[in-house]
């Protein structure tokens, strides 16, 4: 395998992230670990933006400024009691980003995706959508906006496993029909079912367990 600049950048960024997490082992160094993570993140973004210049830079800039400003304001304003639900809410936003990106790539590339990339984008949609709805339910429970008591539907586990089966089927069908218009509908269906699974999975967990 040829060694390229990409490999070098990936190696550096991954080492910085792992180093950052390693610094979390002691309270004295943990703050520096957070900064190291930020540095790795910024480096990765800088490299990608230089290597793949966006076609509409002004839209990208506006999107980053809007998201970043909202994130900064809410992170600065939230009271320490509100931290767990804020983390859950942020995580839900991250999940949204994940399934939107995976969906876009799945639709854009269609049959040109390699098998590994197809599996990756299907998993991205699936995990992203479960993260999105599950984290929002968790955030709602932590904030007391949704009843904190666990909710059990009749046959809860049966429903859950049934829907997991539907997710597997939809993933396989979406990949087998990739490139055809129906694959778009199958992918949307997969995202919707995954989001429902996120809800069903989290409503049976009590608010206090979400906290720990």
């Amino acid at each position: 395998m040829e060694f390229t600049t990409e490999h070098l950048v990936v190696a550096i960024v991954l080492s910085l992230f792992l180093g950052g997490i390693a610094l979390f082992r002691s309270p004295r160094t943990a703050r520096r670990g957070d900064w190291l993570n930020m540095l790795a993140y910024a480096g990765a973004v800088t490299f990608v933006v230089i290597r793949y210049p966006p076609l509409g830079p002004e839209f990208v800039l506006i999107a980053v400024i809007v998201g970043g400003t909202l994130g900064a304001i809410l992170a600065a304003k939230v009271s320490m009691v509100g931290v767990p639900q804020m983390i859950a809410f942020q995580h839900g936003c991250g999940g949204t980003a994940a399934f939107l990106i995976a969906f876009s790539e799945f639709i854009r590339m269609g049959a040109d995706l390699t098998i590994l990339a197809q599996v990756g984008s299907v998993l991205g949609m699936l995990v992203g959508a479960v993260t999105f709805s599950g984290s929002l339910i968790a955030a709602g429970k932590l904030a007391g906006k949704i009843k904190e008591q666990p909710v059990f539907l009749p046959g809860h586990l049966t429903i859950l496993f049934g829907l997991l089966g539907v997710m597997v089927l939809l993933s396989v069908f979406a990949m087998s029909q990739i490139g055809l218009p129906i694959a778009v509908n199958l992918a949307i269906g997969l995202i919707v079912v995954s989001a429902v699974v996120g809800v069903i999975f989290t409503i049976r967990i009590g608010g206090q367990i979400c906290r720990w």
Binding site: L14, L18, G20, I21, A22, F24, R25, S26, P27, A30, R31, G33, D34, N37, M38, Y41, A44, V45, V48, V49, Y52, P53, P54, L55, G56, F59, V60, A63, V64, V66, G67, G68, T69, L70, G71, A72, L74, A75, A76, M80, V83, P84, M86, I87, Q90, H91, C93, G94, T96, A97, A98, L100, I101, A102, F103, S104, E105, I107, R108, L116
Partner: protein, 86 residues
């Protein structure tokens, strides 16, 4: 690529399992911020010519991911400032 994935999985497990309980909340917050690294996918997508619908979805993804990233890192840092005072 799968090899790298499993290697990092192992190293990550070893590192995270050594984090003391006191730091679990900031760790959760920090890894949450790191998870928004999916934003790279959105940047790469936007360097290609896209249909308007896909462009719009990707722009929404960038807003959501940068909210996750900036908010996550700043919130983690705020927690550490609190630790210092104590």
């Amino acid at each position: 690529m799968l090899g790298i994935f499993f290697a990092i999985l192992g190293v990550g497990y070893l590192l995270v399992s050594r984090v003391p309980v006191l730091l679990h909340t900031p760790l959760m917050s920090a890894t949450n911020a790191i998870s928004s690294i999916t934003i790279l996918g959105a940047f790469i997508l936007l360097s290609k010519s896209l249909t308007p619908v896909i462009s719009a979805l990707t722009i929404i993804a960038i807003v959501a991911a940068s909210f996750n990233c900036i908010g996550g890192f700043l919130l983690t840092d705020r927690m550490f400032k609190l630790f210092k005072k104590r």
